[in-house]
């Protein structure tokens, strides 16, 4: 656990496939990237997840060579890219708006990179057919770009970037322009395709679901730094900082003061009573106690748990597969629980329930 250390970015290892070492970038007086390190293994899918303005797209552009870094180095497969212009990096990019060439057909868009590399015509034609087959657009080779739907354009953008067999694929919010339903389908398709090709890819996204679905590891970014780098489950269950807790998923949180310590656990007095959770903090320290909503049980007469609180239902929201309960909470605190649908559908606003959850599921962050 890295609670309270303000960040958990791994130091780059010499063996990493992509290494971002000490990269910094400022626009005028604003620090956009703040001495950032990132190491990505070959074949890994990594997400840069963060709110807009956290520097994730800037970092992507620096890796692609579209923006010079003020300091630091970018290495790919042992090759120092830092001073190379974009067109000599062999790093593919799928842009947010796809940036397809409107004056070219689908096939000519896909062929663009191969022609730039002056490959023989037969090889280009062959590669275009294979790239379009990968994204199931074989039928559309001769179409003008404007005649395609958003989802099809997105796939052309992927095929175009993959056709040149890039050493690294960067995707800038690749699915954000699609509607929700299509986006969910494309997430799975894209993830399957990239794994199948064994390509190393870095995604930029502000959508936590997309990051959770698409990536082996997620780098949660805030204010030009990586707050936490880890697998989707680790990010969700063991957020290193309150920012990560807040940005990824829902959570209940109660502010309080440490009244007891017990090895790896502390007990804090909060507005809903004494709560026990994992973490270290000295007696009297101000802390925030948090728990994920699906870890809370409201079964009457449920089994004993370390933490229990009497909570008043403010809203019960039916979400199809689950029921989300929002409880009354003092200002600054929040109490929310997620139950399997059907379990507590009879609950109404104003009902008082006993919420229970374990100490192991409870996170304690110093304030």
């Amino acid at each position: 656990m890295g609670q309270g250390h303000g960040g958990l970015s791994e130091a780059p290892r010499a063996s990493a496939y992509l290494e971002v070492a000490g990269v910094g970038k400022r626009f005028r007086d604003t620090v956009v990237i703040d001495g950032l390190d990132l190491a990505v293994e070959a074949g890994e899918l990594i997400s840069l997840l963060g709110p807009s303005g956290c520097g994730k797209t800037t970092l992507l552009r620096i890796i692609a060579g579209l923006l010079p870094a003020d300091r630091g180095a970018i290495r790919l497969d042992g090759r120092d890219l830092t001073r190379l212009p974009a067109h000599r990096r062999n790093v593919g990019v799928v842009f947010q708006n796809y940036a397809l060439f409107p004056h070219l057909t689908v096939a000519d868009n896909v062929a663009f990179g191969l022609r730039a590399r002056r490959r023989p015509a037969a090889e280009v034609a062959d590669a275009v057919v294979r790239a379009l087959a990968l994204v199931q657009l074989d039928e559309y080779a001769g179409r003008p770009i404007g005649a395609l739907s958003g989802g099809q354009q997105q796939r052309v953008a992927v095929a175009r970037a993959l056709a040149v067999k890039p050493g690294l694929l960067l995707l800038d919010e690749p699915l954000s322009a699609l509607d929700r339903k299509l986006r969910e389908v494309m997430q799975i398709e894209l993830r399957h395709l990239l794994r199948h090709l064994g390509i190393t890819a870095v995604f930029v996204t502000h959508d936590q679901d997309e990051a959770l679905v698409m990536s082996d590891r997620i780098a949660v970014m805030n204010a030009g730094r990586i707050e936490q780098l880890g697998g989707p489950a680790e990010i969700y269950h063991r957020p290193a900082t309150p920012f990560v807790l807040d940005f990824v998923g829902l959570s209940s949180r109660f502010h309080g003061e440490v009244v007891g310590t017990d090895g790896d656990e502390v007990v804090a007095m909060t507005a809903v009573g004494a709560l026990r959770g994992r973490g270290r903090a000295p007696m009297g320290a101000k802390v925030m106690v948090a728990v994920r909503p699906e870890r809370i049980s409201v079964e009457p007469g449920g089994q004993a748990a370390a933490n229990r609180a009497e909570l008043t239902v403010r809203d019960a929201v039916f979400m199809g597969s689950k029921l989300v309960l929002h409880f009354d909470a003092p200002a600054g605190d929040r109490a929310v629980a997620e139950l399997a649908a059907g379990a507590a559908e009879k609950l109404r606003p104003g009902d008082v329930v006993t919420a229970r959850w374990s100490a192991a599921d409870t996170l304690v962050f110093p304030r």
Partner: protein, 279 residues
Amino acid sequence: MTGWRPTAVSLLAAPATVYLLVAFAAPLLLLLATSVITPSGFGVGAYVRFFTDPFGWKVLGNSLRAAGLTTAVCLLVGYPVAAALTRARGAVQILLLVALILPLSVGAVVKAFAWTILLRSNGVVNQALVATGLSAEPVRLLFTETGLVLGAVNIFLAFMVLPIYSVMRQIDPRLLDAAATLGSAPLQRFLRVTLPLTMPGVVAGVAFVFSMSVSMYVIPTLLMGDRYQTLSTLIARSYLFMRDRSLGSTVAVALLAIAVLVVVASGWLARGPRRAPAS
């Protein structure tokens, strides 16, 4: 039967239509009629006369060459200006635009006359050439084709820059980023992305400048004098000095034909090989 009922489109277009019919279409028809009226009725005698006369070809050649050179120089000078205008931001961009558009408010007569002062053998240009040692003695510029093109470019440049700029600023800069990440070097990016995407602007600019410079009258009159004739100056001479309405109207129709050709060709070039851009 459904009678014709005025629609918003027809009502909005009506004043301009009436004006054009009275002020443009009717005189044009008169002009066409005059060119085919001969002393012995109707005929194409005037056209035959003009196109069998070497002088006729010489004048036509003068006009086309001056217009071609002017258009070419405007394109070579104007394209980079359009690119600069596209990249410039804030005050610099405003300054460039003002520098381009403000001179349009100065009439061609004034500009052409100014050029006669600049270009004469003891003018500023020649003084500069001699002073910097680029030339031992004053170069003859006034009454030469070089001087004519120099003056014409000055007057028509904005009509090349503005259409190219208006198309170029619409180009998504990420297209060039995309081309770069696909392995395209800067020159290749220009040739394969920027240039094809700005072609509609280039075609429009070429059509503007060519059709205006092929029919220019004031500039050749002031910068070249009477010994050099273009289609426009010949039309004027036919009517004003030679009192030859037949020749004048014939040349005018020839000039009109060139203009129509340019418009049709540019319309086809701008549309034909292109497809609808992405939404």
